[in-house]
Symmetry: C2
Subunit: 491 residues, 2 copies
């Protein structure tokens, strides 16, 4: 195996990149067992630490899979064909729920997941996968496993985890509640589903931001809600457009609107709370990446401004740690706690205790906060690199939004038509750049085509290169000319 390091960045990053390239080019096949670290040290002359770090990095990115007791293997792409075939519908829908599901859900592909054939992936559905934190998590899990009670875990979630979350969100998000107001759930998805069951009857009107996270919209539609969009501008949801309509529920992402990144202005927050109070509407505050603002001035949560108890606050650890950790929580309105518990109970009786104990340990030991701080500073560096890279030509007409927080920004391309965008994506792919349209997040087609530019899977020093390649493609698209064949330089 010939591996050439390109001299950019730290040694382990170079080694990981060289291996990744060998995998993507097919020089190392899927399923191949890669040399044990010891042999790799002998072959390359690199230190063991470097080799281990490179392997862990590739594992976190999904290129390598370590098998118990037998080494590390190059993995095939994650989307199993079997899942797709499982989606056959050979019998008529048996319930109204299934009828709706057939119209709404397309579980075959989750948008925004890395295509393993690209070198630079602006994927956005995945948090920053850090091998440090997944290794630490594995360590904590191993340590607490013998101490986990074997009995039925509490329906509401382990009291010690609820207490830890209570302290965490009071400090970080200004949320004053009782640990008994907190319901532990499997993630944002379950949080929205449980909330919808508690609140929504068929045809109840529900307002959602346009654009929005499609998963939230789909869950609400599955429950029979009549979901309509309220446009978002640079100050978040245009709350004034609600005033003339009755809604049972309003879904917002106030700290960092998904996907535009807008922050809901203070005036609109007040107006929204006022609206909810006056109309007996409920509000879901989905604070999906609120924790990533940890090192900055925390933005007040909507929940902390709400004197009337209409806000249902949702948080998740899948975005801040990694998605395989299925844990999130809901701060329930006090008068509906019993209903939330019933809906949660119906959903799955209780969550496994092991992850709850491990998460408690992560929070109480300070490891979680340390990880947040580290991630936040890493992401801040990447955000800077993104902003800088887009300041150069040919991006004069490209508008960036959401570049102040989070793990992605949106790039709006007013010069392009929607069909041009598809051409742009194809060109970029040829150049080894994974681009993702923001289209799945719009209920109605947006006037201006836009890209989701996630930077959780791309290093700061790769950003100028990748954005440079994007520039070339954009240029080619504008010219209406066919882009030149890609010149992928490996070294």
């Amino acid at each position: 195996m010939d591996l050439v390091l390109d001299g950019r960045g730290r040694l382990y990053v170079q080694l990981a990149r060289a291996l990744k390239q060998a995998i993507l080019s097919g020089r190392i096949r899927h399923g191949t067992r890669i040399p044990p670290t010891r042999d790799m040290v002998a072959m390359t002359g690199l230190s063991r630490t470097t080799v281990v770090a490179a392997y862990e990095h590739l594992q976190a990115e999904g290129y390598l899979e370590a098998k118990v007791g037998s080494g590390s293997y190059v993995t095939a792409p994650n989307l199993s064909k079997s899942s797709a075939t499982a989606l056959s519908h050979r019998v008529a829908a048996q319930s109204a729920f299934s009828e709706r599901a057939r119209g709404i859900c397309s579980l075959g592909a989750i948008p925004g997941i890395r295509d393993p054939s690209v070198r630079y992936a602006f994927q956005y559905s995945m948090p920053q996968l850090s091998s440090t934190i997944s290794t630490e998590w594995a360590r904590v899990v191993a340590r607490v496993a013998p101490y986990v009670k074997p009995n039925y875990p509490a329906i509401q979630g382990l009291p010690e985890l609820r207490a830890a979350i209570h302290d965490h969100i009071r400090t970080n998000r200004g949320i004053e509640c009782d640990p008994d107001d907190i319901l532990i759930v499997n993630g944002t998805q379950q949080a929205v589903m449980v909330t919808a069951r508690v609140l929504i009857n068929s045809n109840d009107p529900v307002a959602i931001e346009e654009p929005q996270y499609f998963g939230t919209r789909q869950i609400l539609q599955l429950e029979g809600a009549d979901v309509f969009g309220i446009p978002v501008d640079e100050h978040g949801m245009r709350v004034a457009e609600l005033s003339s309509r009755y809604t049972k529920l309003v879904c917002v992402t106030p700290s960092h609107q998904f996907p535009t990144g807008a922050v809901l202005s203070k005036a609109r927050r007040e107006a929204l709370l006022e609206y909810a109070h006056g109309n007996h509407s409920w509000i879901i505050e989905d604070d999906y990446d609120g924790d990533f603002r940890h090192d900055e001035m925390p933005i007040e949560s909507l929940h902390s401004m709400d004197p009337h108890g209409r806000v249902i606050y949702i948080g998740s650890f899948s975005k801040t740690l990694f998605p395989a950790v299925r844990l999130g929580f809901v701060v329930m309105p006090r008068g509906l706690r019993g209903d939330f518990l019933s809906a949660k109970w119906a959903c799955d009786f209780a969550l496994p205790a092991l992850e709850q104990v491990a998460m408690t340990e992560m929070i109480n030991s300070g490891t979680y906060t340390k990880h947040l701080r580290k991630s936040a500073s890493l992401l801040a560096g990447r955000r800077r690199a993104m902003r800088q890279a887009f300041q150069r030509p040919p991006f004069e007409d490209v508008r960036l939004t959401g570049a102040n927080a989070g793990m992605h920004l949106m790039a709006w391309l007013p010069e392009l038509e929607h069909q041009d965008l598809r051409q742009l994506l194809a060109l970029a792919k040829e150049k080894g750049v994974g681009l993702y349209s923001a289209e799945p997040f719009f209920m109605d087609q947006a006037k201006v085509p836009s890209l989701m530019m996630g930077f959780s899977a791309i290093h700061a020093n790769e950003i100028p290169i990748a954005v440079g390649l994007l520039g070339e493609c954009l240029h080619a698209c504008r010219a209406g000319a066919k882009a030149p064949r890609p010149k992928l330089t490996i070294v």
Copy 2:
């Protein structure tokens, strides 16, 4: 601390019993740190192995809780007061679902869970808690944790776990299906819920065995089903009583009817499949403890007899391992796989990967099968002891059902009235015996009062004593006299 061993059974059992007694009598308070094993060895002169086994036993039974890095503590009873207060309803129900939930669910207490103040608990909601298997589970978890992929786990469940289950149920339950027909779920509860969402519209008629597992009934009612009971006799559900009615779904526990323990006869199985085929009804086959027949002649599963694909087979690992392991599975009808996946996705997107990897390892390594075999033989011994104990006076008129399999039997007390039963329970509690009425499992009051006699938490050599005490109480009840004050002999 004075501990007197009573000389009955193995040394670790004696030590565990003595400690338990000290805890129950209040001599050792809740929250107390018990001496480290080292000190206990010095104090008692017992071997370290004995002390560790006793501690693990008490931990498995919920009397001790080991805290990471700081020793073992005596635990308070498991029912937190906070969960109960969380059930307040101070706002009107907001949805039809919540309206139904308020009428149906009572999450405050799970029937059949051990009351920690009793010495002999005939609890039945808990599987046999074995410290061996929970220790082994912790070991496997620790070993696989570093190898678990951090990304979003597959919605349908990890392919390797589906493959392992596929092989397991083909061998043990004669189920011929494709791994793609298998959906991994969090447990029976979620299996029923997902199935109900796929199949049931409001007011759809659903038949269930009477008596039945109340959780299944409640989930179906929450989904709006019109649930009615079909009586059970010694050959299981009286299928003939279905024939005149249309049902969308029939729920059965054919291998070991819950709670009566009856086995659905072959003729009735055939009639049920015929009925479902003719009426386009679906069947849920809840095989909740099918795995415990592992050492016996396996009873054919309904699924394996079904030529028309109407049976939805549900299995669970919470009953065979322990409840904190939240894993079960559904064998989906092929034509509805897409709908099942949508319903599962809505429920929680995906289950955590860690437990799925660990379970795969447990099955593939043979540890799970070994555990089943061991549990089955242990339970068989207890069943024998139960049958023998009930053969003596004053149980001449007591009818036992379900004494051939599983972890509990039912004792029918035709001489008593329902109010006598309550007196019997109270008397037994005074004598340190935890008895549980089978009442929660009946939709309509049964003609004859009955007891659930679980033996997952009681050792074979304690069974004659405990049943003997029950006999005294029964005698006292019959005489209508007040029972004598309990004489609890500790040594």
